[in-house]
């Protein structure tokens, strides 16, 4: 049985179909004072999968607390969280004394509610595995690099993949390796949440169809900065592909005005740019997990 929330019905139902699970929408009533009331089906199966992608996470985390504790009283024995986008994975240490290490705290909180988690490209830096941040029986990480790479080779001729910063390096390498594509990675200098500058790598751009690829994009500033440099360097076309379309208001305009043609994303976060469904890979991971 799969439980989902109305605002993520599309991706959740696609997963339920791919995995052959019955699915039910959680009834959420919002009171004027900001509290929520949740209602679940009153009889749950022993194994329950909860679909909740966690961008703008705080309201959703409280809903998951209410949901998971209630599910246990209604017959659920094993609870899996499918969170294609997993929040709070970047703050993995106290950069200044006194800072909350939110990755560990939110990870432990979710581990206290769920027995298993499946996510996509969780943007881990200083921890090697998701299980370190989120100590659970199963902590499964999938990647959007493969299906996005499959899309890109279908649509572009011998594309050159460009990572907009060093952090995207491993991820872009994965996408490139899958089809033996050329790739290179920009260097980034960040001076605030929204201010970034990048430097192009030493690679032949002129005459190439370039696709900027990354696991996540939010302001679009890094992507746009890379696109402007690639345009000046003589790229024939510039498109972009990201796993997590975490785009702020204005991000798409920022990216398009920098000369980016197509923007493709997975459905980990619902967005107008979604072109790749993660449902088949998540369904496969669910099936394999339950087979073990």
């Amino acid at each position: 049985m799969l439980l989902y929330f109305q605002d993520q019905a599309g991706a959740a139902r696609a997963l339920a179909n791919a995995a052959g699970l019955a699915c039910h929408c959680v009834d959420v009533h919002r009171f004027p004072d900001g509290e929520v009331k949740l209602r679940l089906p009153h009889q749950l199966s022993a194994r329950v999968t909860v679909f909740r992608s966690l961008h703008h996470p705080n309201e959703k985390l409280v809903e998951l607390l209410l949901l998971a504790r209630t599910a246990r009283t209604l017959g659920a024995v094993h609870l899996t969280l499918v969170a294609p986008y997993l929040a709070y994975m970047r703050q993995d240490m106290a950069f200044m004394p006194g800072e909350a290490v939110s990755q560990r705290i939110i990870g432990a909180f979710l581990a206290s509610l769920f027995d298993a988690v499946i996510t996509v490209d969780p943007h881990l830096h200083r921890v090697a595995t998701l299980a370190e941040a989120m100590p659970m029986e199963h902590a499964i990480v999938l990647t959007g690099a493969a299906p996005l790479s499959d899309l890109v080779v279908k649509l572009k001729d011998r594309p050159l993949l460009i990572g907009p910063d060093e952090e995207s390096g491993q991820w872009v390498a994965l996408a490139a390796d899958r089809h033996g594509l050329d790739f290179a990675v920009c260097r980034k200098v960040r001076s605030g949440d929204r201010d970034v500058a990048v430097a192009l790598p030493d690679v032949q751009v002129s005459g190439r169809a370039v696709v900027i690829m990354d696991d996540v994009a939010s302001t679009g500033n890094t992507l746009a900065a890379a696109a402007r440099l690639l345009h000046s360097a003589g790229a024939v076309s510039i498109d972009a592909a990201v796993t997590h379309a975490l785009f702020d208001n204005g991000a798409i305009d920022t990216i398009r005005s920098a000369g980016v043609g197509q923007i493709w994303s997975t459905d980990c976060i619902a967005h107008a740019t979604n072109t790749v469904s993660m449902a088949p890979l998540i369904a496969q991971a669910l099936t394999e997990m339950f087979a073990n």
Copy 2:
């Protein structure tokens, strides 16, 4: 040591002054994607009091999770939550099968983070004590009925206190008993979050200075419905006093247009109507708790 958040600096500093505690503002950074980063003073005393009133609670609950877990790593041994307004106290049973009993779930969540809680008029119905909902070493309930009653007798001549519905009965009785005032309680019929009708009790209203009193008001509809009836019944003046000014947008207009003159509230929830500080009573409760 008392920790507070910038948006509640006024009430928190008043409490710190009254209780003789050093106070520090928690540094909260909000990222564009809805995540927050918290930073606490990097050395905490063994006893830490956290001031956080919990209207519009969900963001705040996640911040308290991050704060409490971090505080334990920075030297805090005993954590007290001062939440003048405590959220999620009304859903104390599953009214329909499958509903989350959020009072118990949020109560247990806060009990997993804090050693003690102090709150004001938590609007408990079917549980006798706060400790049932929130199993902690200390779960202390204060009331705004006394200081509001003190205010009302100063400002009005022989006021008649009116509770706008049965739920306010005990609370209005408390306010009335304190100064031997007359009181009575309306009957309420509710047909939705915002639709209410009330019936006046059998009491002489004509010629009286009436004060409608309740522990909480949100839409103001109940208060306004009572005020219109009291006006028709010949009240000389109609004012209102509530502990929790949980007023929605438009609530004050609704209440004023029903003929209510003054609206008084405690500072449990910051609002333009705040006239009574709860700091002295909360400081006293803190002092007594630590003395035990």
